[in-house]
Symmetry: C2
Subunit: 219 residues, 2 copies
């Protein structure tokens, strides 16, 4: 017990803050068009600290972050994406295929920051609490930390793009990380070439936004 | 293409906003102690709209929300949790077991709002884009929407608790949802009995916060 550390002065968030927070959610994009300007390493560390305030099952804090700086490793990731994307695109036909090949699905070459994010699948921390019935919750804790990073980055004008078109086990080998880590995301980060409040896939006519009310049931 | 809808006036977020956002992350808790006061249904709908601004793979928007209002169904969920928690707690021994049984791990009985969140595993939306190599990303999109809901709720002073100690397939039956949905989270929501900037598991001595710098590698 460490009652002495507990602060009970919970902040109240103003209407103005809440409206700005809603704008932050609205302007957060999956960015694939980056300027090449550098990102201050201390800014990145500050954003990671904020990300690690995410919830985690049993407070097991399973997030593991890898800054990928080495040019050879980055080039291997670009090759990995290129091959995976060729295979992924081959499943589309006709107009949808043309549309697919027009889409820019990753900003790996331009983005100044490459960040791979892993989950430790069986961390000592948390003593297994909360994840016996739903073991996926340790991966999901990492996903929430990534979402926190995404929002914190957006708040300083930094864009983030999540590259999921990758052979995940090859990424693991390329980055030489412990075998009991599993890849959650490979992220590009940098200053976006053009901010937008519409998802690229919506702008390009790939997919419209669904009316949210239709996704809510009552039981 | 709908260029006409694109707003290029990206908001700049002030230092003051960013500091408040960091406070929002710091004060967001997994809440298990709720007051029984009601939550305005229109407030909940507003929070869900914000949550659905989350990123989703291929913009497939796979989140499906179920407001659980029926007393019988709620009682079945409480029973489900009670049984799952008995089984989960049985794996601890000695002091850790005593500590486990002292923890309150869900606020299902008091919380005015029960919200089950599912992923549609193969939504038509998005045309499969981005999830051939990493199919888990559709589940993960829902997890990010839950994290957005959590933060938006915290911004109005509402607490959220994620109950993962459940038999997920029984939840599916209890709530009578489509078979191709999968349970991501069962959430309790309401006004917290006592706000805190420390996780309950840290306050109760179950698990300390890990120094974040040790979780970052360079490659």
């Amino acid at each position: 017990m460490c009652e002495a550390h507990i602060s009970l002065n919970a902040p109240e968030f103003s209407l103005e803050f809440r409206e700005e927070f809603a704008a932050l959610l609205r302007w957060r994009r999956d960015v694939r068009h980056f300027k090449t300007d550098a990102v201050d390493p201390s800014l990145l560390d500050d954003l990671l600290r904020q990300a690690m305030l995410a919830p985690s099952v049993g407070f097991c804090q399973p997030w593991r972050w890898v800054k990928v700086n080495d040019a050879g490793r980055r080039a291997a990731i670009v090759e990995n994406f290129t091959a995976a994307n060729l295979a992924a695109g081959a499943r589309y036909e006709g107009e949808k295929a043309e549309q697919y090949w027009r889409l820019k699905l990753a900003g790996l070459v331009e983005a100044p920051v490459h960040l791979a994010v892993f989950a430790d699948l069986d961390p000592a921390e948390g003593g297994g609490l909360g994840r016996q019935t739903m073991p996926e919750t340790s991966r999901w804790s990492v996903v929430m930390a990534i979402h926190g990073l995404w929002l914190a980055a957006q708040a300083v004008g930094l864009g983030l793009g999540w590259v999921s078109i990758l052979d995940a086990s090859a990424v693991q080998t390329t980055l030489d990380v412990p075998g009991d880590w599993t890849l959650i995301a490979y992220l590009c980060m940098g200053w976006p070439a053009e901010p937008s409040d519409l998802p690229l896939l919506e702008r390009e006519g790939w997919q419209e936004r669904v009316a949210g009310a239709g996704l809510i049931l009552e039981r």
